[in-house]
């Protein structure tokens, strides 16, 4: 009798558990700009969600193109029109705080972090980036690194050059490469130039100077920052002239096919070379922190939040639990070519490059990226694209520095 009762209780409670998970129904709209190669990773995460919550119909509302610019435009019109998706992709940092949190469009997720034990699962520096004094505002899904120099070891050997550890070294070997008819550094359109700039700036200013810049403690017209532009200008001398018509993939292609020697790009380049081009990390292509930034990890992170007024709030919270879970992160990230934001991920699931990135993530000094929404709000980021065009056209450090300072004042970064 007792056994039967126990069995019934066990069955009922198990059933209850299943029922509790299965009880979610209706729809869940996930908004992102992950299509193509990255869409596969998102789909894997959605599949995981659907296997846990079979009653929920997931709507994958991806807006492709323009590295997120199109998606963000659609998202903004939807939010202004009072029609938010259930959860949307947003870069951790100022792109989240400076646009959505100060507008009171997000729900505080502190309770979820406490309930799921995430306060210990994520590095505290990362939690700071998605928090204000009022709360924690999104769940980070992945970590990418911005300051990486890519090359093909075999080609470098052939040309007889070493991987430069500083930009001065690069500037010494660049003329040698040029004489051999090789473009020393491959570059793509506007934003990839800004991407290069942030690595150069980090090498000149160091992590403390970089942080000071965004706290308004270091002026953009400071001689040190003008030095960044000067060095950046000297490096640009060794880039390809057709940069404005190339995407970042095409710039990476130049390195892969031996037209160019190096490329500075975020580590989605590793994902592209590994998954799309089928190259073996560490064998077919090599990497190192961009010159002068050894021991510093310039990060960016995609995260998902809960907008106020999400039409299917319960489903969205279940989604966030999947996003923040170890299983979710280890499902998504090996495919996306990024590392998990959690510190306890199962590294055996990741390729050689990602394992090395994860080791650096746990040991390096962490700073945030400018181009990918961490350190500056969207108003500054938008203005900086124009500053970059001013510099690319005129190559005048003083002028670029003054324009950057003016934008920093407008966007409330400089005091």
């Amino acid at each position: 009798m007792r056994k039967i009762v126990t069995a019934v209780v066990v069955v009922l409670s198990l059933g209850g558990l299943v029922w509790a998970q299965g009880s979610l129904s209706g729809e869940l709209e996930i908004f992102s700009w992950w299509a193509g190669d990255e869409g596969v990773a998102l789909q894997a995460l959605i599949d995981l969600y659907e296997s846990l919550y079979p009653g929920v119909q997931v709507i994958n509302a991806t807006v492709a193109g323009g590295a997120g610019i199109n998606a963000k435009a659609v998202l903004k019109t939807r939010m202004l029109g009072g029609n938010p998706p259930d959860s949307f992709q947003v870069h951790a940092g100022q792109e989240l705080i400076g646009t959505w949190v100060i507008a009171h469009r997000m729900e505080d997720l502190t309770w979820l972090f406490q309930q799921e034990g995430w306060l210990d699962a994520f590095p505290s520096g990362l939690i700071d980036l998605i928090s204000t004094e009022e709360g924690i505002w999104s769940v980070p899904l992945n970590i990418h690194r911005s300051n990486v120099l890519w090359y093909i070891p075999e080609n470098l050997e052939k040309w007889g050059v070493q991987v430069p550890a500083t930009w001065e070294e690069f500037l010494q070997i660049a003329p040698v490469l040029q004489e051999k008819g090789v473009i020393p550094l491959a570059l793509g359109r506007n934003w990839t130039a800004s991407h290069l700039w942030e690595s150069v700036a980090l090498s000149v200013l160091g992590p403390d100077g970089w942080e000071a810049l965004w706290k308004g403690e270091l002026s953009f017209t400071d001689p040190k920052v003008i030095e960044v532009w000067d060095l950046f200008g000297r490096i640009l001398e060794y880039t390809n002239e057709d940069a404005p018509s190339l995407s970042w993939q095409q710039a990476v292609d130049m390195v892969v096919n031996g037209t160019a020697a190096f490329n500075v790009m975020g580590d989605w380049a590793a994902g592209y070379m590994f998954a799309t081009l089928g190259l073996e990390p560490g064998v077919d292509f090599g990497w190192t922190p961009s010159p002068g930034t050894a021991g510093i990890f310039m990060m960016l992170s995609d995260s998902f939040g809960l907008p106020v007024g999400a039409p299917h709030r319960d489903n969205a919270i279940a989604w966030l639990k999947v996003v923040g879970s170890r299983e979710g992160q280890d499902t998504f990230n090996p495919l996306k070519g990024s590392i998990a934001a959690r510190v306890d991920s199962d590294l055996t699931k990741y390729n050689t490059y990602l394992q090395s990135a994860a080791a650096d993530w746990r040991s390096n000094t962490i700073v945030g990226s400018l181009v990918h929404g961490v350190v500056a709000n969207e108003r500054f980021m938008d203005g900086f694209a124009t500053v970059m065009e001013i510099f690319l056209a005129g190559r005048n450090s003083q002028q670029a520095a003054m324009a950057a300072e003016a934008i920093a004042i407008q966007s409330g970064i400089a005091k």
């Binding site: 323009g66 610019i69 963000k72 435009a73 903004k76 019109t77 939010m79 202004l80 646009t99 959505w100 100060i102 507008a103 009171h104 469009r105 359109r189 506007n190 934003w191 002239e241 057709d242 940069a243 404005p244 018509s245 969207e378 108003r379 980021m381 938008d382 203005g383 694209a385 124009t386 970059m388 065009e389 001013i390 690319l392 056209a393 003054m402 324009a403 003016a406 934008i407 407008q410």
Partner: protein, 371 residues
């Protein structure tokens, strides 16, 4: 009685569309005007109830003289060159194709469809195709390789070369020169036609403008503390080629319809009077095609002022050399959250398009009422 009922029905039938137009066109235009005179974009622009203050013409002042909006001013210059070259290029090529087809060659129907085909594509597709064709390392540049020649070195849209450079601060003076030239021409024409009394007003105006140019313009303080150089970016040529490729078939169709509309008797008469074929087109056909040219200029002109997708597809959101006001409006508004300044750019575009379209509307309405 019946008349009144008819009128009632007419009003009833028209009312819904008037209301919808009123809301979705005119109210939105007014709203954009209003937003452009606020500071929406300062703090938390995406809040449910953002703090929006009325600031008058501040945004326009910022756009036309602010240090950071040099990009907007270059965009205006870009639009000017793009519009002039795109419209004249499409008209010229379209007319040429129309004349060729008007000769009724073999397979005319086939060629007509062929030339019209690009029209059916969207600008995004045209832009993507031409981005590939104009890639400095591929496409058109490697064509000579087929014949064993070295590849072209054109940089196309990647070029940062600028010609016809001028200082933005000289714009009022340059405008004065153009106005003076036009007025001087009017004066000269009046004198030549033997109506000297009609030459007095334009003559005096010319003198006034020249006087202002020589003495008055020095009195205007410079808007910026340094010279701001703008000019014609060669990179735009790539965009212009793509746009002409897309629209010359359309102007061809317009012209061809016009040419076919010219009665045979007129052509015969001209020939009997000793016109050769060239003269026939120049002296007879072209003047008769004037209304078509005008409509084509209006249609192409307002399309080119609003160009967005072609540029966005070919060179992305941030290539200043080929940038257009509409692209800047998009990134400023939806990336930089500067709704007020974005609305300001939209209004400037609206006024530019109105300057093209309204005279045309007035002209065609007058034409119709005189019939």
């Amino acid at each position: 009685m019946k008349n009144r009922r008819d009128r009632l029905i007419a009003v009833l039938v028209i009312t819904p569309s008037v209301i919808l137009l009123g809301i979705f066109v005119y109210w939105f235009i007014w709203r954009t005007f209003y937003i452009s005179m606020t500071d929406w974009g300062k703090e938390a622009p995406l809040a449910v109830r953002p703090v929006i203050r009325f600031v008058g013409l501040q945004n326009y002042k910022e756009l036309f003289s602010g240090i950071l909006n040099g990009r907007f001013r270059q965009d205006l210059v870009n639009t000017f060159f793009f519009t002039v070259l795109f419209v004249s290029g499409s008209l010229g090529l379209g007319l040429l194709l129309a004349i060729l087809l008007d000769r009724e060659p073999r397979g005319e129907g086939f060629f007509r469809t062929l030339f019209l085909f690009p029209m059916s594509l969207s600008f995004i597709i045209t832009g993507t195709i031409w981005r590939w064709l104009l890639a400095p390392r591929g496409g058109i540049n490697v064509l000579p390789k087929l014949f064993g020649l070295p590849p072209f070195k054109f940089e196309w849209t990647s070029s940062r070369t600028q010609i016809f450079s001028f200082n933005w601060q000289d714009l009022p003076r340059l405008t004065a020169l153009v106005v003076a030239a036009v007025l001087a021409y009017l004066t000269w024409r009046a004198v030549r036609k033997g109506r000297p009394q009609r030459a007095i007003v334009p003559g005096l105006c010319t003198a006034g403008v020249v006087a202002w140019y020589v003495w008055g313009s020095q009195l205007v303080p410079p808007a910026l503390p340094y010279p701001e150089i703008h000019g014609f970016n060669l990179a735009i040529v790539g965009i212009i080629i793509a746009a002409i490729w897309q629209f010359s078939g359309y102007t061809m169709a317009l012209y061809l319809a016009g040419l076919r509309g010219i009665p045979t008797e007129v052509r015969e008469a001209a020939r009997i009077d000793g016109c050769n074929e060239l003269q026939l087109y120049r002296r007879v056909a072209l003047p008769m095609l004037k209304p078509i040219t005008l409509s084509a200029v209006i249609i192409l002109g307002h399309i080119s002022l609003k160009t967005f997708d072609l540029v966005f597809a070919m060179t992305g959101p941030d290539h200043a050399s080929t940038d257009m006001p509409s692209v800047l409006m998009f990134v400023k508004t939806f990336r930089g959250n500067q709704f007020a300044e974005g609305a300001g750019i939209a209004v400037v575009l609206f006024i530019l398009v109105a300057m093209v379209v309204i005279p045309y509307l007035a002209w065609s309405l007058r034409e119709r009422s005189s019939l």
